[in-house]
Amino acid sequence: MNWNTLKHDRRTLWAGYAAIGIVLAVLPFLVGAGLGNAWLRILNFAMLYIMLALGLNIVVGFAGLLDLGYIAFYAVGAYLYALLASPHFGLHWPVWAILPLGAVVAGGAGALLGAPTLRLRGDYLAIVTLGFGEIIRIFMNNLNAPINITNGPQGISSIDPFHIGNVTLAKPLVVAGITVPSLHAYYYLFLGLALVIIFVTIRLEDSRIGRAWVAIREDEIAAKACGINVRNIKLLAFAMGATFGGVAGGLFASFQGFVSPESFGLMESVMVLCMVVLGGMGHIPGVILGGILLTILPEAFRHAAVPLQQAVFGKVVVDPESLRMLLFGLALIVVMLYRPAGLWPSATRKRELQGGSK
């Protein structure tokens, strides 16, 4: 597709946006009616994962810092929401205070955990960030004694649903005569915030800061010699990425109503990283695609595995969960072999690979 010619034709462009907008607006009703609420939940999670993938994309895709502990910031956002809006401490802060606070605290945590890793890169950075991610999870797991802060492995339950004043998303909303069920309302909320994050990412990429990130990824020494304060710009990447994670975490807590350390394991970090890498590192549409595919495909497979096996063999031969991981691994290998720059790489990356094969 040639974006330049498309851009010239403004009417086509706006018609395209309008079409996408309409599809996104009616999607929850179509999915809810056609596939049921389970799928609507999956759709909501896809939105959360898009936010996470875009956050990690700033660190990994733009600045080129391989971070294997990214999910820690999701955990920070989620726990912050859980602690400040649940019966656990008896606090019920309003959402408009918690979510920005979650973003700021997660961003601070990002900078804090990023600071000791500034001199590391590649494998070493990956190992240290992996350690930090696990440390945060283990903290959540063990901070129930001597003072019970996180309630340990039991997690925190009965978290307040997303609500502003008397309007809560836990019950169906009636907007202009249309009844919007809770899941649908969360969908619109997540969609809105995902769009905000997409917008912020696009703006950042095409800016002085975004160029500095990519410059560090491309050649750190040259970036220094060009006058970039590499320390600050790296910390900014960690902090910005973590901010998105913190927001997504807060939304996750309000949506689930329950958080426990289990949700923030290494596997989650790896999943988000896979979304970024498979989709197309550093390319925003690719990362979004990665987030959607890697949320929906495994679930689709989970739903299909049992009926399919019963239809073919008359019984369940392989446990769908292990089969899922097997196929997931296979898919990763195939994509990396045949589309090494990701499913939807940026035009530049594509050019680069073609240039490399000459």
Partner: protein, 267 residues
């Protein structure tokens, strides 16, 4: 020549790598508006001096006064802020960015937009972005590769990559431009064009510090030349005098041939 004011004065700059004394107290002075050559056999310490000057290495001793004030070489970006820009012996471009973007990165230090400005694209940020792009285009034109602006840096020819690196360095608004073997690997006509470019840069008021192996280029271009050997300055004078200095001749002809790669480690 000597009536020109001092721009840079290095005093006893020393750098050791374990037991290897790469720089044994090098002192030299660069005057405003001159093209100053730094030559010497492989491993003499030329690039080490560059790295100490531009903050990539922390010197073990000595000090550098630049433009009348002590130069803080603790971080490269502080050096760049003072007005010293450099290129690298083994070209270091942002390979997967376009030529234009490479030069735009060079404007980083001289521009201010932060996260807030980037997200909300305030009028000030917009104006700044436009100015960055305009300046980058001018510089690409200046070094003669305006037609390659939208090509990835890695797809440029070798000579164009050298030019792009110079354009990027110029984007930081340096008072001193330090070029590390800019003519390495160039043929005679490319070297000639490079020479014209460097002379033009000097004419525009930027002092040039040049490490170069191409003796003809150095002798023809430089106002003064310093010769390093085993980490020591053995001679500093106008090219005609340096060329005849017996110590220089011994350093060059007496030194055994070393692989070019050794300079990366020790130089």
């Amino acid at each position: 020549m000597s009536e020109r004011p001092l721009l840079l004065e290095a005093r006893d700059v020393a750098k050791h790598f374990g037991g290897v004394k790469a720089l044994r107290g090098v002192s030299l002075t660069i005057r405003q508006g001159e093209i100053y050559g730094l030559i010497g056999p492989n491993g003499a310490g030329k690039t080490t001096f560059f790295n100490c000057l531009t903050g990539l290495y922390v010197p073990n001793g000595g000090s550098i006064v630049f433009d009348g004030a002590e130069l803080d070489t603790s971080a490269p970006h502080k050096v760049a802020a003072r007005g010293i820009a450099r290129t690298f012996q083994n070209i270091r471009l942002f390979a997967n960015m376009t030529a234009l973007e490479n030069v735009m990165v060079g404007r980083h230090q001289r521009t201010r937009a932060g996260v807030f400005g980037a997200i909300f694209r305030t009028p000030a940020t917009k104006a700044e972005e436009a100015a960055i792009q305009r300046r980058a285009e001018e510089l690409l034109h200046y070094v003669g590769i305006a037609d390659r602006a939208q090509d990835l840096a890695k797809h440029l020819s070798y000579g164009d990559q050298r030019r792009l690196e110079i354009a990027r360095a110029l984007a930081t608004e340096p008072r001193l431009l330090a070029l590390d073997e800019p003519a390495a690997g160039m043929n005679a006509s490319e070297t000639g064009e490079l020479r014209t470019l460097i002379e033009g840069i000097r004419k525009d008021g930027i002092t040039v510090l040049l490490i170069e192996h191409d003796v003809k280029l150095v002798m023809g271009l430089c106002d003064r030349v310093a010769v390093l050997d085993y980490g020591e300055k053995i001679c500093e004078d106008v090219p005609a005098v340096v060329q005849k200095d017996p110590r220089v001749i011994t350093a060059y002809l007496g030194a055994e041939a070393q692989p070019a790669g050794s300079e990366v480690a020790h130089g």
